[in-house]
Symmetry: C2
Subunit: 80 residues, 2 copies
């Protein structure tokens, strides 16, 4: 989906990896949102960066997203 075919393995270059992370993370959340709407299903996506930053998507408040503290040593998605 770009100028070149990309092999699916860890991107070693730091800035390339960061750029790809930003783009593809956005794409993943978009896809999750579309799927939840098109098919009327509940979806949660959680992504942890290597530095412990958390990115999440939830299609519904039927998921409780719990963030106990900023260190995020434990993170829960609870389906209620």
């Amino acid at each position: 989906m770009g100028r070149k075919k990309v092999e699916i393995k860890r991107i070693e270059d730091r800035s390339s990896r960061q750029a790809t992370f930003s783009k593809r993370r956005s794409g993943l959340m978009k896809k999750a949102n579309q799927l939840s709407i098109l098919c009327d299903v509940d979806i949660a996506v959680v992504v942890f960066s290597s530095r412990g930053r958390l990115f999440e998507f939830s299609s519904t408040n039927r998921f409780l997203l719990l963030f106990p503290n900023k260190e995020i040593t434990l993170f829960c998605v609870v389906f209620i």
Copy 2:
């Protein structure tokens, strides 16, 4: 990405919705897997169908996927 542009709203036709769910769910999990590998991050995706079936992807065993029972009234993704 298909023969026609699709508006992002609930697909009313049952079998079309089911077909799309199957295809796009597979696509979403694939994208999650690629992102986790390319960018070396941890990802969990949980999808609940309207009938309560659960589909999940986890890039790592740092996520504990807890299934208390088959009824799945409560489901947890725990980041450890």
